[in-house]
Symmetry: C2
Subunit: 193 residues, 2 copies
DNA sequence: GCTGTTGGTCAACGCTTGTTGGCAAACGTA
DNA sequence: TACGTTTGCCAACAAGCGTTGACCAACAGC
């Protein structure tokens, strides 16, 4: 009767297991090397099922990396601790959420994924920056600097797996990065105007 | 007579044009999507020539991304300006050198490239850190933090191409990042021991 | 003159990829 | 019981990949 959902009645479990396998493979191998055949094998179904559920490899990826950062409301934390709050939030997110690694690894090769990351920055991080930084006009640049440090750490820790970066504890990361983000968000411009 | 070089007498120009095309493609497309056929087309030769000169796709990549950071000697700059000196050096390097973008984009998918980046960190950046940081035992962690910030900025600027990151001038990048690297290298540990 | 080496092209190989359409069960409803 | 829908597997497709080996043209030295 209802055509508002495409498949959805009984085998949501299959759909979910495909998505789980896809996330794992995309996070581990990137876009091209995460083949539909390998994902289907992990989910113990036939490759053609993937097409039925998600029409495309692109569609599968888009469904696999639906993302909401759920950033804390800047009004909830004191302005001087926002850096620390943000870094702690990101570390927790990366530790528990495979989607972020998948998005990062794929975004490097796949323009659609890169654009989605850019959208996350625009819709979720820039507003936070606009709320706390001295001149709202600088919000995009300041948010981009924060993103560069957070993504850089994720890159060396979860993707490139530099030993010294992997060895850091969550606490240490927070202690090192918090002042950086705090300065990027709230400090006056470092150069003479 | 001399067998110290494998091919090298007359057609070094072909070899060089293959390498140039390869660097460009690897930097723009990553490992899998930079096909030998496309590289050969760019260099206006037959794909089989690539194999003759470099035996493998792996061999081609390895030859295309030979890299030396040529970091400044830490003894040449005053300790308090090392952060600024390093950031300026890296910005110049990234602006003029396609190899770094290629290495970054490929390293995300290709373990061999990731290992090479790790080697660069180990052999070229950690020694600098060991030379200036309070406790030499912390050198790997401090160098990894510096790498995370530098690579993160390169990621958002040259690979993901976030507009706010692209819009930054070289000077602005130096002004923002220098204090970060300076702190990662020389500050006392930020947390209580 | 021949002849061997070098730089280069052509056509094909085996393989993997994303993707498609047909067919077989299982199930709910009438 | 009969039937239509859902859920799934199987076999195949066209295309693209890295890679190979046979063949050509030019040029060197004897």
């Amino acid at each position: 009767m209802s055509d508002e959902q495409q498949a959805g009645r009984r085998s949501d479990t299959t759909r979910a297991s495909i998505l789980a396998a896809a996330r794992e493979r995309f996070a581990a191998d990137g876009y091209e090397r995460a083949t539909i055949r390998a994902i289907a094998r992990d989910a113990r179904i036939d490759p053609s099922m993937v097409m039925r559920y998600f029409t495309n490899k692109e569609g599968l990826f888009a469904a696999a990396v639906a993302l909401d950062l759920e950033l804390p409301d800047p009004a909830d934390a004191p302005r001087e601790e926002l850096g620390r709050t943000l870094v702690r939030h990101f570390v927790n997110l990366w530790e528990e959420n495979e989607v972020l690694t998948a998005l990062l690894r794929v975004g490097v090769t796949n323009p659609a994924a890169a654009e989605r990351m850019q959208g996350v920055l625009r819709d979720q991080l820039i507003p936070v920056a606009r709320h706390v930084c001295p001149d709202p006009e600088q919000a995009p640049a300041r948010a981009a600097l924060c993103a560069s440090q957070v993504l850089g750490l994720a890159l060396t820790r979860y993707v490139l797996r530099f030993p010294a970066s992997v060895a850091l504890s969550g606490e240490e990361i927070v202690d090192w990065l918090a002042p950086t983000l705090q300065r990027y968000l709230t400090a006056e411009l470092p150069h003479t105007p």
